[in-house]
Amino acid sequence: MFKCSQHIYLSKNQLLVDFQKQLEFEKSLNYAKVFKGIYKDLGLDYPKYFKMDYLSKLGFLSAEVILKDQPLTSKYASEKIGLIIGNASSTYLMDSKHQSTLSDKTSYFPSPANFVYTLPNIMTGEICIRHGFKGENALFISQKMDIDFLWNYAYNLFENHKLDACLLGYVEVKDDDYESFLMLLERTEKQGFTQNNLKNICTTYKKETNG
């Protein structure tokens, strides 16, 4: 049904692509600096990036790593390219920031630019804008990546010809920690990528970055 063309994992200041280490940052570096380092390494010039919250930045960079050499819209109709992403803490950092502007009634200036980033699917929206994806997109909230469910959902969308390609994964930013796992799925005639393949990839990444 579909194959996995590439997968990436970004956590603990390491960026791995198809299990190979691509970039590594000092352990003590905070993610604001790490993300900026990746942005520079990718040679990006996308001013909108600097307006994004950290969840969007992480999703955006992860997608960029996969898609920089393979623009999908030249291969598939834009409405057949989608996103299926899991996340746990939604936009907690931005939520707290927005809430903090509400405590002082004498200086009450909630920021619209902040408020718009209090929705987790803005991250998927940013990726769609950047890469011209117009197909099915879903943002699921779960404490851990629900591999079975995400795979089943992707399978159904490919089977129903809603999608020919999609990014599937899990993008999470919480307090001082972050994790992003993203893969590109593309339609294929052959016996494709299974639920077990997906599980194995996730397990391998966790092991490698924890070791």
């Binding site: 834009s78 409405e79 989608g82 996103l83 746990a88 803490s89 939604s90 907690y92 939520d95 707290s96 927005h98 809430q99 502007t101 509400l102 405590s103 009634k105 009450y108 909630p110 920021s111 619209p112 408020f115 718009v116 209090t118 929705l119 987790p120 699917n121 803005i122 998927t124 929206g125 940013e126 769609c128 804008i129 890469h131 011209g132 994806f133 117009k134 197909g135 099915e136 997109n137 879903a138 943002l139 699921f140 909230i141 779960s142 404490q143 629900d146 469910f149 089943n152 959902y153 399978y155 159904n156 969308l157 089977e159 129903n160 809603k162």
Partner: protein, 388 residues
């Protein structure tokens, strides 16, 4: 492919409790929105739709008389609504073939507020935590799935449930959606200058913005027609890929979602009898929708927006508006667009001006939201070929 029926509808809005009370007021053209002066929600007066909390608490107590556990309001809403749906459908819901999907944008977000955070654990503000609590309460066998895709969440939850049953993985999917009014949300929309200080006016030339609302709704999607013969015949989700807060000017994103749903249903566009639009009454949304309906070729159907009755209920909106529109379809009635008087979008849509008898066999529900997301779902009222 299995048919997927929409059973056991229940909803609570500012209009009242349950389908019957809500439908009665919808047909009567009665709004639940009003001016609210509550410094806990916003420093100034604003116009919105609130659930009658005292009545809700009494209702909750009578439905769960032995319950001793406390829940935040958002979770209480879901528990009560889901329970009502389960009671009506009488299914064995603790089995492996039943799934619960929740749709919400902000869940227990009010718990971030110093005044409301009480003794709840820090994690309680997260939607996965609410999902965990609700799974435990009902003793569900599968992890609860939460979809949080801004204002399309409710329609998307129905779409996902439909697919999960179609694929044969589950026999029953309970879909429940809720969002509550909070200072967090009111202040945010206020900062976006997208609120009307009076009753919202969908598709009207004088429209200036939306009214917020709170609500919960639930239903049981099932391969069996348990309480209803209305079933889903197609759905589609799309993204504008244009801007994170402003809808596409051309309507091409929503058009793609409608087209995807029509293709799946294998019906021509002119077979759509009625459209329950998103119709938030913001300048850009309503104009965008009218263009999308024309692009998709469904512009000859009757169109309404229900937002004037119970406001924009965010993660619940797509779900409760689907449920009310399905109910109206079953009763062959139309609900008028409250707040609409002078046509104010560029496409000559047939906006419903009065609630009356109308034969509706095919219903289209659409939603669009922040992040550029769009959703469309088609329902059919099967009259002949289904045996109850």
């Amino acid at each position: 492919m299995n048919k997927v029926f929409v059973n056991g509808s229940y909803l609570i809005s500012s209009l009242g409790f349950g389908m019957e009370e809500n439908m009665k007021k919808l047909y009567a053209g009665e709004s639940g929105s009003c001016a609210i002066s509550d410094p806990n929600l916003y420093p100034d007066t604003f116009f919105a739709s609130k659930i009658d909390v005292a009545r809700f608490q009494a209702e909750f107590k009578s439905l769960f008389p032995t319950n001793k556990i406390e829940f935040p309001f958002f979770e209480q809403l879901l528990l009560l609504s889901i329970q009502k749906t389960l009671i009506e459908c009488k299914i064995d819901f603790q089995t492996k073939d039943t799934l619960l999907i929740l749709s919400s944008t902000k869940g227990n977000i009010n718990l971030l507020d110093e005044k409301e955070k009480g003794n709840w654990e820090k994690d309680r503000v997260f939607l996965w935590k609410s999902a965990e609590v609700i799974q435990a309460f009902f003793g569900l066998a599968n992890p609860v799935q939460v979809i949080s895709n801004a204002c399309i969440s409710g329609v998307e939850a129905l779409s996902i449930g439909y697919r999960m049953i179609q694929s044969g993985i589950y026999k029953n999917v309970i879909v429940a959606g809720a969002d509550i009014l909070s200072e967090f949300v009111v202040s945010g929309f206020q900062s976006f200058q997208s609120l009307d200080a009076e009753m919202c006016k969908p598709f009207d030339s004088e429209r200036i913005g939306l009214n917020l609302g709170e609500a919960v709704g639930s239903c049981l999607l099932s391969e069996l027609p348990i309480t209803s013969k209305v079933h889903i015949i197609g759905s589609g989700i799309s993204n504008d890929a244009n801007h994170i807060s402003g809808p596409s000017r051309t309507g091409d994103g929503l058009y793609l979602a409608i087209n995807s749903a029509l293709n799946e249903a294998e019906i021509p566009a002119n077979q759509v009898d009625f459209i329950s639009a998103h119709g938030t009454a913001t300048n850009y949304n309503d104009e965008m929708e009218s263009k999308a309906f024309q692009l998709a070729g469904v512009q000859n159907a009757q169109v309404n927006s229900i937002k004037g009755y119970w406001g924009h209920t965010l993660g619940a909106a797509g779900l409760i508006e689907s449920l009310a529109s399905i109910e109206a379809m079953k009763q062959n009635k139309s609900i008028k667009t409250l707040g609409y008087s002078k046509h104010g979008v560029s496409v000559d849509l047939k906006i419903t001006k009065e609630s009356k008898s109308l034969e509706i066999n095919t219903l289209l529900k659409t939603a669009s939201g922040f992040g550029g997301a769009n959703a469309a779902i088609l329902f059919k009222n099967e009259i002949d070929d289904v045996q109850m």
